[in-house]
Symmetry: C2
């Protein structure tokens, strides 16, 4: 029994919460005490949802986004433009791009980003299936929409080397100053990119 | 199916996390995606711990603190002074006071604080059992160590009305300026209390 807490059951519950990113042991204890103030039914429902989460969750067999159906709603939608693929890291990025309402093509969800520090290589991501998808024909443009970080750049570079021989148009989302921000607060790199990648004034 | 997410399973998992205090839907989604990157075993262990949490957790039958045993380690310790009871809101406060190493008496954990706004009345707390404990004899002093808030003051007042007829010594933890803080940053109320409740210089 851990001496920090008066109970091994409490210790285990706090331990499970504090494994989550951004949750320390103090917050974890607060969350566990909050749960103890709830009904048996509410707490056991919480537990049941997660005990079968990995078995319950399914992925679209085309774009690999999280989906309850074999082919997700976006891939199955005949109104979407199947000649354009947007490559993103995860489902959060799909939701973010969908909420802009500026994109009508399909997605390809890598399920992560190349990160040697975390031991994630190209074989851990849905890159082979992206190449297959482009080889299958019908795709005219692939938009690389990964985070503007070193890992994102590495992954962009790796994917571009795989796709360039296939003759598909490759583009990358624009980097520059964020809309609505005062220019003096923009970081040097973004401001520099915004000048180098300037576009004709419309 | 909620339209916000591409999957009802995902929606349910995010919903469960976002019920917790301080966790919004964006953080909840991040936590669920983090879990999906973990092994089946790790995630199902997380779920199992919480699905039986309410059944697994037990309370000390004397002080009502969380404990794996019928009587907790503090109550069962013969070296502790059984003539002094410290009344606290929850297990976090017991841990906080224990870590000061300034207290050698026993505790009484109320399991909350009187809060009409949240629908918590005296009957929802371990107040009747506190009165019984004092009536049982052997207790010389009861220290009220609740938060210095309106709810804490209300609870202190209610408990004092119940205990005063029993002839036990009642005290309340000192309120004043926090140790280590510069005086100019102390709030007016605490500073005022520190002057009114001044003690002889030793």
């Amino acid at each position: 029994m851990n001496k920090e807490y008066p109970s091994a059951v409490l210790e285990r519950a706090v331990g499970e919460f504090s494994k989550l990113p951004g949750i320390g042991r103090k917050t974890a204890l607060r969350l566990v005490l909050h749960m103890l103030s709830k009904s048996d039914e509410e707490v056991s429902t919480f537990g049941r949802v997660f005990s079968t989460l990995k078995q319950d969750i399914h992925y679209c067999k085309v774009c690999h986004n999280i989906s309850d159906t074999d082919v997700c709603e976006i891939c199955a939608n005949p109104k979407r433009d199947g000649s354009t693929l947007c490559v993103v890291e995860n489902v959060q990025d799909v939701l973010a791009i969908e909420s802009t309402m500026q994109y009508n093509g399909l997605y390809h969800v890598l399920g992560g980003i190349i990160s040697p520090m975390d031991g994630i290589g190209p074989q851990d991501l849905q890159i082979a299936s992206l190449v297959e998808r482009v080889q299958g024909g019908g795709v005219k443009e692939v938009i690389l929409a990964l985070s503007p970080t070193m890992e994102g750049d590495t992954t962009n570079f790796f994917i571009s080397r795989k796709l360039q021989p296939l003759g598909v148009k490759l583009s990358v989302i624009a980097r520059g100053v964020a809309v609505g921000n005062n220019l003096e607060y923009a970081d040097e790199v973004s401001l520099g990119r915004s000048i180098v990648d300037r576009i004709p004034f419309q």
